[in-house]
């Protein structure tokens, strides 16, 4: 019996070899080698309806205009980050974009290894820190003398746009209780939340704020559960700040016909399931930031260091009210306009302290 089995196996192996031999011989090198850009997402994945997705859209848009190749790899767990960046590097990619604060260490390590590759990291800036893998405290500036001369950090002033979201929430609440369902307690999320709470208090001095950090960006069930418990505590406007986890919070409020505020992108478009409840979204234009970075790489004007998107330079802002346009009182809209102007001019501070 085993003879026949081994014959089958041998036959299959031969077949495999034949197929392999017939394969298009190592993809004929295209004329003047196209540049290649790779995007490494965080565990949220490229369809997270939020910032990973936005980063990928920006990458695709730039790649299309520049005639580059663009590919992405989704990370499954934190120990994958290094491996995934390496994957692009060994495939001779010219530019690598990593999405998310959590990828900070891995990006720095790989950027030092591959000096010829331009890196951009969304949401993480490097500062000298004791015992840090990314950038120890022996240097003055991580980018200039810390060896990260090929890294651009794409940062966002989340507290500003969070503040505006808070102004809307504070103005819209009927129960004087606003809340946020947040992801992991990392700086970009904290900036959003602090800004939001202070914005709500700015708009409405009677307002009570609730917030829960859920240590995950990929747990919509937990987000929804948390949202429901916040409804039970009298909250009627929620801000979902945590990728898919936050989306769960939005869904809980949509189901009870309450008010929700989206995050990162205009979730009216990316998460239509909750659009009836969605008054606005606190947008950080990751797509524009990534797009601009890639354009800068293309024309050679890219610089190491960090770029911060602010209300002033238009890199962040509230999304349109869409269906809620008629339902948002003019007073609230005016307050948002005043707050925007005052934040830009510096007359108003969001109250976030790093």
């Amino acid at each position: 019996m085993s003879k026949r089995v081994w014959f089958v196996i041998a036959l299959a192996l031969v077949l495999a070899l034949v197929i392999a031999a017939c394969a298009p011989a190592a993809a004929p090198a295209p004329a003047a080698a196209k540049k290649k850009v790779g995007l490494v997402t965080d565990v949220g994945g490229v369809n997270d309806k939020s910032f990973n997705q936005s980063a990928w859209e920006g990458t695709q848009k730039a790649a299309k205009e520049l005639g580059w190749d663009a590919k992405f790899i989704e990370s499954k767990q934190p120990t994958d980050y290094e491996k995934n960046i390496d994957q692009f590097a060994t495939e001779k990619y010219d530019v690598v974009v990593t999405v998310g604060f959590l990828m900070g260490d891995a990006t720095a390590v790989k950027a030092r290894q591959y000096k010829d590759i331009k890196f951009a990291i969304v949401d993480n800036a490097y500062f000298p820190t004791k015992d840090s893998v990314a950038c120890g405290d022996k240097v003055k500036d991580c980018y200039a003398d810390g060896g990260l001369t090929n890294v651009t950090s794409l940062m966002f002033q989340e507290d500003e746009v969070g503040f505006l979201a808070g102004v809307v929430a504070g103005g819209m609440t009927k129960t004087n209780t606003v809340c946020s369902v947040s992801g992991m307690e990392i700086p970009p999320v904290v900036r959003f939340v602090v800004g939001y709470q202070n914005g709500a208090k700015y708009a409405n001095d009677k307002v009570k704020t609730l917030n829960t950090y859920i240590p995950s960006f990929i747990d919509p069930a937990k987000g929804k559960e948390t949202g429901q418990s916040m409804i039970a505590q009298g909250c009627d406007v929620v801000f979902g700040v945590g990728g898919n986890t936050g989306n769960g919070g939005l869904l809980a409020f949509k189901e009870k016909n309450l008010i929700a505020i989206g995050v990162d992108v205009d979730q009216y478009n990316t998460y239509p399931e909750v659009k009836d409840a969605l008054v606005t979204s606190a947008q950080k234009n990751v797509d524009t930031a990534v797009y601009n970075f890639l354009k800068a790489v293309a024309d050679g004007s890219v610089k190491a260091g960090y770029n911060t998107a602010t209300l002033k330079n238009g890199g962040i802002g509230l999304a349109p009210y869409h269906d809620w346009d008629a339902k948002v009182p003019a007073a609230v809209k005016d307050k948002v306009k005043t707050a925007t102007a005052d934040l830009i001019s510096g007359k108003l501070a969001t109250g976030y302290k790093p």
């Binding site: 089995v5 196996i9 790899i73 934190p78 994958d80 994957q87 900070g104 290894q113 992991m184 240590p215």
Partner: protein, 455 residues
């Protein structure tokens, strides 16, 4: 079962070989069939048959041939080996431990805590301490469902699943509060002491320049040699060359000391001059030696010791075991504890050797504990068979990225192929039918892997 080869007497070498081939033919055919079906699926979903070779070549290149490709496959294999040994050990005792993922988390949590608790201990003490602590942590987590089953008959499947959730939430809580590194803005534990790290392969020569580390390695090698020499003089043909037990003891002792001394004096020197791992960005670590050592130890425990015999007997037929005077309850708890210990070790290894911060961040594992169930099934719960099956899964997991990059075929296809492999292994009748093998009378008499509900 597939461990037939082990049971054969050495003088029947040819037939042992043939039998090994027979035992291997089913899993190998299963893998082959899965890949063929995988190719069909790739061709259909991509609408282009030429995607198939691009995808599979990418897969193979990514898993073996690209820079650091093989290393990365091994890095993924190491936790798989330990985690699936945990599942397999449970199977052998008739227990289905689905709690490996939770025990993995507890192991990594313990490792992170104990690794960061001391900063002046030498590796000689700290590293074993961390590993033992992690194994104990996993053992406790595994033993709880074991005790519940032994005392109350509560089914381990349900309790281990529930213990998983407790482990996840406990880890989340401790990582984001008690153990959190306040200096870092990331949510992660404090970095462990460099002495608790599992050495990266590239750093081994540098590490060995420290005499304490050299003693550590010499000791490990001496212990290995001791067991090897004992096996040699007691179980192999070499035994005939010695007349008395005293001679055998002398030989064993002498060999052990020689290896220890040679390792202490020459290994540091040797690694300075010839050492295949020089790439500082290679993530392969000395867990590479630990994983097969664990597999051999488990095989030895199960097949050559009284404890193993009792465990297997309880697994194969509890009623017979009870009649023979074996304490079933004790063995259930023991099996779950040992299983948990192995899973805990898997978690520790990832913290000590792979995690970039050498600490425990949130969301540490993407289902090593669950993949390992499939691996243990593929290996038919055979401890040695787990080594190649883990490597298959590790290589697939690692090669999948390059496959996706090159061909645009989603790497979820790999999960599909893994599932197909499992399906074909679990249902050998399909493979036999497809390859037109006759069903052998004795082939049906496979021992059930676990027992059903109740006792």
């Amino acid at each position: 079962m597939s461990n037939v080869a082990l049971k054969n007497s050495p003088n029947d070498a040819r037939s042992a070989f043939a039998k090994t081939l027979d035992a291997l033919s089913n899993p190998l055919l299963a893998i082959l069939l899965a890949f063929v079906l995988g190719a069909v699926i790739i061709a259909i979903t991509s609408g282009n048959i030429s995607t198939v070779p691009v995808a599979y070549i990418g897969l193979i290149e990514g898993a073996f041939f690209k820079t650091r490709g093989l290393s990365e496959s091994l890095v993924a294999t190491i936790p798989y080996v330990l985690a699936s040994l945990a599942v397999a050990l449970g199977f052998k005792a008739g227990l289905f431990n689905i709690g490996v993922e939770g025990q993995f988390y507890i192991g990594s949590l313990t490792a992170a805590a104990v690794g960061a608790a001391f900063h002046d201990l030498p590796a000689l003490i700290h590293l074993p301490l961390v590993l033992i602590a992690a194994a104990l942590g996993g053992a406790v987590w595994g033993a709880i469902p074991g005790i519940l089953k032994a005392k109350t008959g509560a089914h381990e499947v349900i309790n281990t699943i529930m213990m998983n959730y407790i482990a996840y939430r406990l880890t989340e809580f401790l990582v984001s509060n008690v153990l959190r590194d306040k200096a870092s803005s990331a949510v992660q534990t404090i970095r462990i002491s460099p002495n608790a790290e599992l050495w990266n392969m590239a750093t081994v020569p540098a590490r060995l320049t420290d005499p304490l580390n050299a003693i550590f390695i010499a000791l490990l090698l001496a212990i290995t040699t001791f067991f090897f020499a004992r096996w040699l003089v007691l179980r192999t043909r070499v035994a005939a060359r010695f007349q008395t037990a005293a001679q055998k003891r002398a030989f064993t002792t002498a060999l052990t000391f020689m290896v220890a001394l040679a390792a202490f004096f020459f290994l540091p020197l040797l690694t300075q001059t010839v050492w295949p791992w020089t790439d500082p960005y290679d993530r392969l670590h000395i867990g590479l030696f630990l994983a097969p050592a664990a597999a051999v130890s488990v095989a030895w425990l199960l097949n050559k010791t009284t404890i193993g015999f009792e465990l297997r007997t309880v697994g194969a037929n509890p009623s017979a075991a009870q009649y023979a005077g074996i304490n079933i309850g004790k063995n259930i708890v023991l099996a779950m504890a040992l299983s948990g210990a192995l899973a805990g070790l898997a978690g520790a290894i990832e913290v000590l050797g792979v995690s970039i911060c050498r600490c425990l961040p949130l969301f540490f594992s993407a289902g090593y504990g669950f993949d390992s169930i499939a691996i243990a099934l593929l290996a038919r719960a055979d401890a040695i068979g787990i080594l190649p099956s883990s490597f298959l899964f590790g290589a697939l997991r690692n090669g999948a990225d390059l496959m996706e990059l090159r061909s645009g075929v989603s790497k979820h296809v790999i999960s599909l192929i893994q599932a197909l492999v499992l399906l074909f292994v679990a249902a050998p009748a399909i493979v036999r039918y497809l390859t037109r093998q006759k069903t052998k009378a004795d082939a049906v008499a496979d021992v059930p892997l676990t027992r059903g509900w109740g006792r």
